[in-house]
């Protein structure tokens, strides 16, 4: 049942596509139909570069259904260089080595599986900058 949902989210998930308001130039992630700053409805797609800095980090050991296979993993808030803060998992780093203030950049990874036979959803995670 989540195939339509995943399909709808693929631009945001795979290319960090959000929106830029043509009126007030606000940048927002993910895509919006209305500008959160000025309320306008004239928005263009905007792909974020993917660079950012961690604001907070937590090492998850008990995960909600759909994510249990990945524990332990580092959950983080990443402030993108363009401004918006994104909640995402970190990758290519030992969870206990992750900390606030790390430079990270977006990569594409497997995010979750919806049920044992559900579709596998790919999307953004963030890895330390310069990691292989």
């Amino acid at each position: 049942m989540d195939i339509a949902r995943s399909w709808r989210q693929q631009d945001s998930n795979l290319r960090l596509v959000g929106s830029r308001c043509r009126v007030c130039e606000a940048l927002v992630f993910p895509q919006r139909l209305r500008c959160p700053s000025c309320g306008g409805a004239d928005l263009a797609d905007h792909a974020f570069q993917g660079g950012g800095t961690t604001v907070s980090v937590a090492t998850v050991r008990e995960a909600p259904r759909g994510f249990a296979g990945q524990v332990p993993y580092a959950a983080a808030l990443v402030r993108l260089d363009e401004g918006p803060v994104v909640a995402a998992m970190l990758a290519d780093v030992e969870p206990e080595e992750a900390c606030p203030g790390m430079r990270v950049s977006m990569i594409t990874r497997r995010i979750r599986q919806d049920g044992d036979d559900g579709p596998i959803v790919y999307g953004y995670k963030f890895a330390p900058e310069g990691s292989p």
């Binding site: 907070s56 937590a58 808030l77 803060v85 909640a87 606030p100 979750r112």
Partner: protein, 379 residues
């Protein structure tokens, strides 16, 4: 203001009700409230419930609750505002009364989580956060609280173990409450050794989800002098959902505004209030709530709790029946449960949990990690 009278109260225990369905829990609590309000029949039934949809339980729940209670030809609505559902149900009932559409309204909060496995319940709860960008990326309320907790520790330069005192306050009060789920004092050692959910957040930082229901019968303010507890202030405010805003700002603007508005309606300041029932869905949320309501300055909630400030007998008694943390987190029932507990305090019927001379209570219920706040002031 005098918005309504509370003329009947019913509560189930918070815990594992294997023999009760979601509808049964509504009937048990609702029936007890109706029995207390004997002689009056409500013409509307409002039910607050958070997870019944996601967990595949009875829908149009208020209809079925009303029908099983023998209430026919009544107005029924089911309100689903995540963990704020119970507070919202009270709020909708107040609007129906204040609009003159009804004289008596039965409000029920109910939740049934133990039919599902814990990882499924956590995933269901996560749908109250951003279902796509947060739940869909592995963030539930516990992970969200963990991210904010880490920031709180860094920003306010506090010791992580200081959060213990918020949990300990709730447990100390729950130990006195026969209807509580975790009805025992929490030793500091146990808190420190608690298994990690999402470092720095441990099992003991979270409130245990369980089953439970509570109900109140609300009446339009009577002209005659009455000993009924009054609802003297009410405010519901939603703003700025998202873990990011919560963790970056370390504040609960919706809770602040909602508390200020409800207090102002009641003509009270926080320092005048006898009892505080807050939404301590985690120690982190408890800390931010204590600060939002004005019981401690930003970053000082843990110190305040450590000094015993929130204890029964302390400066600002809070979570007096154990809060979500130890009475048990009954999700959509929480808001109604809190109202019932506040009213028992003001009636002087709180038993071993009684706050001496309680004259007013502030009751605040939060959804979506505080983005939705509903506050009531009882007097």
């Amino acid at each position: 203001m005098h918005l309504a009278d509370i003329i009947g109260i019913g509560r189930t225990a918070a815990g594992e009700h294997w023999r009760r369905s979601l509808v049964d829990l509504c009937v048990e609590a609702g029936g007890a409230a109706l029995d207390e309000a004997r002689g009056t029949t409500p013409t509307a039934v409002i039910v607050g419930n958070a997870l019944g949809g996601v967990l595949g339980d009875q829908q149009n729940l208020a209809l079925y609750a009303a029908s099983r209670l023998g209430l026919e030809r009544v107005e029924t609505h089911t309100v689903a505002d995540d963990e704020a559902s119970g507070g919202s149900a009270v709020r909708v009932a107040l609007a129906l009364l204040a609009a003159g559409l009804h004289e008596r309204v039965l409000v029920i909060g109910a939740e049934k989580t133990t039919d599902a496995l814990p990882d499924g319940v956590e995933a269901a709860r996560a749908k109250g956060l951003d279902a796509v960008r947060e739940a869909g990326f592995g963030m539930g309320p516990s992970v969200g609280a963990a991210l904010a907790m880490r920031r709180y520790i860094d920003e306010h330069r506090v010791d992580r173990d200081l959060f213990y005192h918020l949990a300990a306050t709730a447990h100390a009060h729950a130990a006195l409450n026969p209807l509580a789920f975790l009805s025992w004092p929490l030793p500091e050692e146990q808190y420190r050794c608690s298994p990690v959910v999402a470092e720095p957040f441990t099992v003991c930082d979270g409130a245990p989800l369980c089953d439970g229901a509570a109900a109140v019968v609300l009446a339009r303010p009577s002209q005659r002098a009455s000993s009924a507890i009054r609802i003297a202030g009410s405010s519901a405010v939603s703003c700025r959902p998202g873990i990011a805003g919560l963790a970056v700002d370390l504040s609960l603007p919706a809770a602040e505004r909602s508390a200020a508005a409800a207090l102002s309606q009641a003509g009270l300041a926080a320092r005048d209030v006898s009892v505080f029932e807050l939404h301590d869905s985690s120690t982190l949320m408890a800390a931010l709530s204590v600060e939002a309501v004005g019981l401690a300055p930003r970053g000082k909630a843990l110190d305040f709790a450590a000094r015993g400030g929130l204890r029964i007998g302390g400066e600002r008694p809070a979570l007096t029946f154990g809060g979500l943390k130890a009475r048990g987190h009954v999700m959509g029932a929480a808001g109604v449960c809190q109202i019932a507990e506040g009213a028992l305090q003001l009636r002087g019927e709180a038993g071993t949990n009684q706050v001496a001379g309680a004259k007013s209570a502030l009751v605040q219920c939060l959804g979506s990690l505080g983005a939705t706040a509903v506050t009531h002031v009882l007097a």
